[in-house]
Amino acid sequence: MANLIAILAAALCLVMGVVVISARNPMHGVIALVANFLGLGVLFLLLHGEFVALIEVIVYAGAVMVLFLFVVTLLMAGTEPPKEGAGKNLPGQLLWAIVVIGALTALIGFVLAVRTVLTQPPPSTQAFGSITDFGRSLLTTYMLPFELTALVLLAAVIGVVFLARERS
């Protein structure tokens, strides 16, 4: 049952990922990306990451993608989806695409090659990944990274306010 759900969620993720990069209209891309995040959230849940799954949905699907939606709505209001210049610059683009696809195929091949190493079943994970564990280690062992994320957010807030200010 859990495996079936995992396979369905993974398939949803991959199909929606393809839609994100192939959709002509960025609005469809945003919807596909939200669906992709929901699928990832399900996968995280099945991997005993209850809290990270909810973070993924609340922060990514609920806040970050709404920002995307806001900007797409603002920039593409009432217009046809923009024509992307397909003709110009094509050879270079094609070359890059081939390079990237080659490198990533090699990566996927590598993962498949070391498959035997990682196929032993994961250890018993009943008590793993609870929010209590997560919170305790976040506020003790990993206190410094936690504080630094606050600094990152502060820098982002100041940067956005600075960039968006009214210019006279």
Binding site: I21, N36, F68, L75, P82, K83, G85, V111, L118, P123
Partner: protein, 101 residues
């Protein structure tokens, strides 16, 4: 019988490949940005999968940090896109060549 970690890694690798391909072949900055988000999340899946394999909560902490950094990055990136394309009709990164020597 739970799925082994490698299957999740495979999904993650393919997702990352799709994202990287999206950055390379698309010219709309918003779509490129979304492809980058796809790559971030492929990495998150790897981290959560390894966290289960090795019973290391640090993987979840890492995902938390990635999500925070990605949120900050999106806020900054989107305001830059809005400022650049506020007065342009086309959304194509190749047309941004005013600093070309």
């Amino acid at each position: 019988m739970t799925l082994p970690t490698v299957d999740f890694l495979l999904v993650s690798a393919v997702l990352f490949a799709i994202g990287a391909l999206g950055v390379v072949i698309r010219k709309n900055p918003l779509v490129m940005f979304m492809a980058i988000e796809l790559m971030w999340n492929a990495v998150n899946l790897t981290l959560v999968a390894f966290a289960r394999q090795f019973l290391a909560i640090a993987g979840h902490i890492f995902v938390f940090v990635v999500v925070v950094v990605a949120a900050a990055e999106v806020a900054i990136g989107l305001i830059v896109i809005v400022l650049v394309f506020r007065n342009r009709s086309e959304a194509d990164v190749d047309s941004l060549n005013t600093m070309k020597g």
